[in-house]
Symmetry: C2
Subunit: 509 residues, 2 copies
Amino acid sequence: MKYKIKEINIDAGEFTVILNVKDAKEMGVRSLDRVKLITPKKTITAVVETSTSVVEEGEVGVLCKVLEELKGVESGAVDIVRTDKPHSVELIKHKIDGKSLTSEEIREIITDIANHNLTDIELTAYVMATQLRGMTLDETTYLTKAMVETGDTIKLDKSPIFDFHSIGGAPGNKITFLVVPIVAAAGLLIPKTSSRAISSACGTADIFETIARVSLTKEEIKNITEKIGGVIAWGGNVNFAPADDIIIRVEYPLSLDPYSQLIASVMAKKKAVGANFFLLDIPIGPGTKVTETELANKYANDFIEIGRRLDMHVECAITYGGQPIGKHIGPSLEAKEAMMCLEGKAPSTSVVEKSVAMAGILLEMGGIHNGKTVAREILDSGKALAKFREILEAQDGNPDLKSEDIIPGEFKAEILAPSDGYVIFLDNKKLVRVARAAGSPRDKGAGLVFKKKRGEKVDRGEPMFEIYADNKHKLEEAVNLSNLIKPYQVEGMIIAHIPGSGRTSTYSK
Amino acid sequence: MKYKIKEINIDAGEFTVILNVKDAKEMGVRSLDRVKLITPKKTITAVVETSTSVVEEGEVGVLCKVLEELKGVESGAVDIVRTDKPHSVELIKHKIDGKSLTSEEIREIITDIANHNLTDIELTAYVMATQLRGMTLDETTYLTKAMVETGDTIKLDKSPIFDFHSIGGAPGNKITFLVVPIVAAAGLLIPKTSSRAISSACGTADIFETIARVSLTKEEIKNITEKIGGVIAWGGNVNFAPADDIIIRVEYPLSLDPYSQLIASVMAKKKAVGANFFLLDIPIGPGTKVTETELANKYANDFIEIGRRLDMHVECAITYGGQPIGKHIGPSLEAKEAMMCLEGKAPSTSVVEKSVAMAGILLEMGGIHNGKTVAREILDSGKALAKFREILEAQDGNPDLKSEDIIPGEFKAEILAPSDGYVIFLDNKKLVRVARAAGSPRDKGAGLVFKKKRGEKVDRGEPMFEIYADNKHKLEEAVNLSNLIKPYQVEGMIIAHIPGSGRTSTYSK
């Protein structure tokens, strides 16, 4: 039977159609069952929701993803028949039952995910099964390959290709802006793609976007890297490992990040740009994604082994991420600090030292002896700054940009030390909440500037950090949140006061 | 800011609102985040989807569940603010991490589920966590209580209350229609609620609906039971343990049924009718839900223990369910077979024997000695039939109904034995697929009638079973499916033929 197409512009994330309840009953389908929409040119599988009034009998409501598929194919009417759920749902059940999956089975699941063929329920079952059952190294290798194969890839005309990545959780980790130009200035190729913030204060793409264009095409990434050695692009603009973004859609609300999925997600994106040499930064410490050394070592070994199986030479650096890297958090503020470091005006040593050390390892992987010394010379000599300006220019930024040109948000507040003493803890997660309350990453000028970091001595009433915002209201919200959750500890400060009545009240002064 | 309400009649299963992408960005919410809709009278929490065109800027699209909540409260405009996800999502994370949950924590999760406060992703995470982490007996007890407390209950003016339940998987298990009238005729109270088919060929409610009204109110269930001792109602019409139906929504597409959830689901519904004595039927054998004796014993022990904690005396009967019970499958056909058994014209012994045995145990739980003998006397004497007619009359059926008045589907086909030999296997799951292909449970006349059951001798070409359908096309589909999947085995029959080329072809004759 033909159903009249009714366009419904809702992005439900899945391939969804809406049927009138009477039609659905007649067809023997219920909510979340699947149907095939048949047109002379193509057949589309979609998940059913039912309604008594959005669509009349004889109509089919077609949501965004299906609408795109039908574009130019059919706009009048389609045949609809009931169909079974994809076989990969059975394979997910195998994983739930604790079985290992074969290469073909994993490819089938990932293909269905990449093609939006699984419902949120099925996708969550997949993520939960990998979280709770785990995956063998074989399975993780298959997963990585399947994620590469179901997406786009870049093939540079030159080689070898170098790349690096930092596992999340350390705010202010802006080393990309030093490492890429140092490595490129040393004559190596580094087509770096980065992400935007999901739950962090801001991602590398959010930062660079304040001073350059990050939405590059595959061709631009290839051409810029071949021409000047390095690029800093937003990974979301290219279709590398598209299954990953879909999986993240369900991981994010549950704050889940299964072990094997993290490895496959990183490795697939590196494989997609054709990396031959890959350095992984694993920040550890309170509030990072990988808090313990033991887990960091396990990750390191597994990344190296999976790399071996994918013909990629992988090395890992375990770094300290238990407090923010450098002094600035927030899109414009981090761009500013990065420029300051490149100009030789670094406000603290941690960004420079970490960047030089990481770039040094990459140079040695590329056969350059005394990598760290060479990296430092490239930075100190201004060659890194010159290369960064080339990258800026290639990505439509201002090649003459200076750090003082980058202006943070116009509204500013100071958070003062509550007592005399040494700073014993800066809480990454709480600081991220404060930065986000101030508007980061959406408001480019929002963020934090640290006046005192861990181990430094402060006097009562001295500024601990500044909050910047583009919006007065958000600044107030961030200040209130900071006063409430206290994202730092000063030795001697009373953290909580338990009065005699037994109630607990948090000190507010 | 006020948003203009736009009604969108889609039942998405969750509390969902649609915001224009620009408004969502401004508000800092993304798809699947939550917002509060604030009216002077009440505040409603809902999950956000975004759209570029279904709603304009300044509008909020309100789907079914939210629409119901707003009815009579507000139809013009509402304030909307971003809000965090419910605390129960954190508690689900505890379960994912392998922690045991307290009574209060489980109540919080179940309350949020019953109030439609969790998204499909969060709900699936809960089901997967209970499936893979399991629950202690304490947790299962808390779960049962929470499911009772978040729904309606019935309090009869008389006591004690008797009840029974069969775990699924044995097709044709129509014993309710004998057990309820026998027990009621013996003077005991048995307010039986039953379900409709989810994945089975048909449920008790689907069967009884062909000859009586099953959508009874709480008051009707109470009054009929108090007046005549027994009732056979559809549980879906009353709000017992409403969290269960919502959980089933995600279990069904994954064919999952976590151990502890099964126990809590059954026990909560029995507690909701105030059962003091409860008999559980656990059919075992190939194709049933509980295939192994060992698992059946574990279920039995845990049901009994949870019963003890809930002040309910529980006994269990492990029965054989490795082939269909009786000779008929399908709504009208099972109603007909049940009437035949009550009239003393049973087409086979299995329904009568099982019903008398089960009723006998219930009578003994009620202090009646020689329960099975008494049960058989009640059946043989026609007292059970008389009581069944009383129930029929109380539920708006025809009290003078005779089995020959019940007519199955008008289209019929015979499936013939492929060779001489003994029937060695009737495959429950495949038979259910054939019955459903024929139209069961939606088409009341659709179903199967067995001519030969396990252990019986057949000659080649003799009818194995008949397929009935209300619709010629569906009959053909069912016959084709039966020929393809062969839901039986006859000793001596070739099941598959592997030709020399290595291809496998299934024999079709």
